[in-house]
């Protein structure tokens, strides 16, 4: 495992603190593990909530992820940030959980069927956050992961590639498809809302230019 001193020169204080805790976890320090758990619980919950789209599964997959962190802490090589490593585990656990469900086919396909017209009916009366949630529902899990890690977590495309175990060009392609797909949704939503509810529609008009 990379030493703290080595990392201090190249990493931010947050990652150094994470690494300190992880080194203690590697020797089965439960107090350190609780601290690490507290640090990662909110961000993993958020990420997995977006990835899985099933709130009832989030806690279990968060715990699956941190169980692996507990078991494998001594194997962390320090080649990436601790948060990238943990996110990578969460991604794999999330995808595995989705695979087990088998109710949402092609979760990690990069191109889904163009069934947006049907989807618009479902999201026509929602608020902006609900629209976003529905919009994200209509892209693949891999695409959602890239969008979330970029915009919410501020990851570089290299870090996302590390976390998701894929080439950087795949990350860029997934983002491209996600953007294209989300961009198709909003104009139709805006149009629908202007007819259905002028007040709501006008509220969303300015936001309708988002994508």
């Amino acid at each position: 495992m990379t030493s703290i001193q080595e990392l201090k020169s190249t990493r931010g204080p947050e990652d150094v603190e994470n690494l300190k805790l992880l080194q203690l976890v590697a020797v089965k320090d439960k107090v350190a593990f609780e601290k690490l758990y507290t640090r990662f619980y909110p961000q993993l919950s958020r990420y997995l909530n977006r990835l899985l789209r099933r709130p009832e599964m989030v806690e279990e997959v968060v715990n699956d992820t941190l169980f692996v962190v507990w078991e494998k802490a001594e194997q962390f090589q320090g080649r990436s940030k601790v948060s990238t490593w943990v996110t990578g585990i969460a991604y794999l656990k999330g995808i595995k959980a989705l695979d087990k469900l088998r109710t949402v086919p092609d979760q990690h396909a990069d191109s889904l069927d163009e069934d947006i017209e049907e989807s618009v009916n479902l999201i026509s009366k929602l608020g902006l956050q609900e629209w976003l949630t529905c919009g994200l529902d209509m892209i693949s899990a891999d695409q959602r992961s890239v969008v979330e890690l970029t915009y919410f977590f501020g990851y570089s495309y290299q870090e996302i590639a590390e976390a998701m175990g894929c080439p950087v060009n795949t990350v860029k392609t997934r983002m491209f498809h996600a953007r294209r797909r989300l961009a198709k949704l909003l104009p139709q939503l805006q149009e629908h809302n202007n007819v259905a509810s002028p007040e709501k529609g006008s509220r969303k008009k300015g936001l309708g230019e988002l994508l």
Partner: protein, 206 residues
């Protein structure tokens, strides 16, 4: 220009989240000055970012989830200890004793072959019982958690189990058990589940 424009378009999300390297950052900046399409796209993506970041998520108290995870960890640790006690743990700390065990087995085999109590009740080991009472079938056994090493050992003895592998990711052990001829697999599973420490049993194969 077309290719460069496409590349810049692809980089915009990471230009916005400020994670590009200095070289790529400069490249995007210089392109943006003269490209209105990219400027519009940047503005849209900035709005999208704001929308995504705003999305709040009500989280349950982490302590409850943490307690659950710690219970799972402790159960897993106990399982490891149990498997180590049985001599099939990963660390193989029992290897030095294997020579002694082999010697004891040879002596036991010799004793078993000599008809010391001829005409009386025969001495039978657990393995001879399972071999003569039925056909061996493969089952997946899970144990109640937490379980002590002693209880688990006793459960394995009580079920006449021959351990094949385990525990797997779900905590199940694959065992071979001789099902008595007069019982169906389902009846046998029901009887196994009554044994202290056994949480569940499932037929895996003959």
């Amino acid at each position: 220009m077309g290719k460069k424009h496409e590349n810049i378009m692809q980089l915009l999300p990471w230009f916005i989240n400020d994670s590009l390297g200095s070289k790529e950052q400069a490249l995007v900046l210089s392109h943006l000055v003269g490209c209105t399409d990219c400027q519009k796209e940047r503005d849209r993506l900035q709005d999208l970012e704001a929308l995504i970041v705003d999305g709040s998520l009500a989280l349950p108290d982490y302590r409850f989830s943490f307690r659950k995870l710690m219970a799972r960890i402790e159960a897993a640790e106990l399982n490891k200890e149990s498997t180590a006690d049985h001599g099939f743990g990963r660390k193989r700390s029992w290897l030095p004793g294997i020579g002694l065990a082999a010697s004891v087995s040879i002596i036991a085999a010799i004793i078993a072959l000599v008809p010391i109590n001829s005409g009386q009740k025969e001495f039978q080991t657990l393995s001879t019982v399972t071999a003569t009472q039925g056909v061996s079938h493969r089952f997946a056994l899970t144990f109640t958690q937490p379980i002590s090493a002693q209880t688990m050992r006793q459960a394995l003895i009580d079920t006449n189990s021959y351990l094949v592998s385990g525990p797997d990711s779900a905590g199940a052990y694959i065992v071979d058990i001789a099902v008595p001829d007069q019982m169906t697999d389902d009846e046998f599973i029901v009887s196994i589940k009554t044994i202290d420490g056994v949480e569940d049993a499932a037929f895996v194969g003959p």
